[in-house]
Symmetry: C2
Subunit: 237 residues, 2 copies
């Protein structure tokens, strides 16, 4: 069966966490809005009169199922593609980590849009500077330090968050770190000394054959100042 | 088996979504940090050298399982207490709604703390005014209008988000609406005309026997300006 992913075509955004899982799994999927006429199909789906409407992309179509909310999509894909443990306690733990990554990602987004997503960055630059300073000084050490601790305490493997095998939470942490290194290279370089395991996980994921091929392909949308992880020099002194 | 809930004792916060599910289920639980010496036990748990450490409260202890992240706890409790459908598609849909409520709740929190959770409200009042104006003008109509649409399209019952029966998503939407009515009475009153089903769901939940008893009990922490839903007159003109 071929999945259909519906997500904004010009940004990595939250859809990227789903793309990484599908790519690593080698699962056949169409990135619908990036195909010819596909963006109209995404917009039509958002307006469709379905009984269980999605609030926002990403949306995964799997057979007759329409699944939305990034972490929910990953909780669905995980057990199907060996991207999380099969037992309940392992599934809950993986999902818990994913939801914590989602919280981090939301905070990163708000660092350049502290007042309103509907306003331009340029109209909230002064406030973004304050919020980004708090993000890099307080929140990144807290979140990334937490994941460093999780890796340190994992008795079965220090390159994986969950047990001895790859999980979708590893892929998502890779993406968060990659995004943060793009957006805040100076802050991340100052933090590097305290995050040896997080950075080793990032590198190990980037080197996995399927991921490495994906990351240099045209299927990987580049980072940009339209996405969640944006590089503004003034926010990363 | 008796659950143990670990959450900050003086606020409703995110723990309240878990409390509501446990109360409606009639499940035996200890609200640990609200018992004598319990806050020290919460702090000790946050510092404990466990293999799967929680990032933040709420934390649910169920036998040997330690589960964290509000939506994750609810996904665990739901099938055990009849608070969501048993089939996969129904569980995914309920969780999807819960994650959307979680997004709304995070935005409400940031309306009074747009610059940093670590700063006092008083140090970001000017920015809070802008963010709260966007919340009430743009985000609340978008989020609550979405849930109104979900209720409208539910073929099996307009007082429930999922099928014909109560789910934890209903309880969480109740809590979000109750909190918003506390924090933004003027904005919510202006929106009321467009949200007949959302408000009817709120009232129906408040009237359920177990919930009604809980809401007037001392187990329900009152709303306050320490929690997520805060009433500041200047943010709700």
């Amino acid at each position: 069966m071929r999945y259909e992913l519906y997500y904004w075509p010009t940004i990595q955004g939250r859809g990227e966490f789903v793309r990484l899982a599908l790519e690593e799994a080698g699962a056949p999927y169409a990135d619908v809005a990036r195909t010819r006429g596909g963006e109209a199909r995404l917009l039509a789906l958002l307006r469709a009169d379905v009984a269980r409407p999605p609030f926002a992309p990403p949306i995964l179509k799997s057979g007759r199922l329409l699944i939305s909310q990034t972490a929910n999509i990953l909780a669905y894909l995980g057990p199907r593609h060996g991207l999380c443990p099969a037992d309940e306690s392992g599934r809950l733990w993986t999902h818990q980590l994913q939801l914590t990554i989602a919280d981090l990602v939301a905070e990163v987004h708000d660092s350049h849009h502290p007042l309103a997503a509907s306003l331009y960055y340029e109209d909230q630059r002064r406030e973004a500077k304050k919020r980004a300073a708090d993000l890099t000084a307080e929140r990144l050490p807290k979140f990334l330090g937490y994941f460093e601790r999780v890796l340190e305490r994992n008795p079965r493997g220090r390159l994986h968050l969950v047990g001895a095998r790859l999980s979708y939470a590893d892929l998502s942490l890779f993406q968060a770190v990659a995004g943060l290194c793009y957006a805040f290279p100076n802050a991340m370089s100052r933090l590097a000394r305290k995050l040896p395991r997080v950075n080793a996980l990032h590198d190990a994921i980037a080197g996995r054959p399927r991921l490495a091929a994906y990351l240099v392909s045209t299927r990987r949308v580049p980072f940009s100042e339209e996405g969640i992880f944006r590089h503004y020099r003034e926010l990363d002194p």
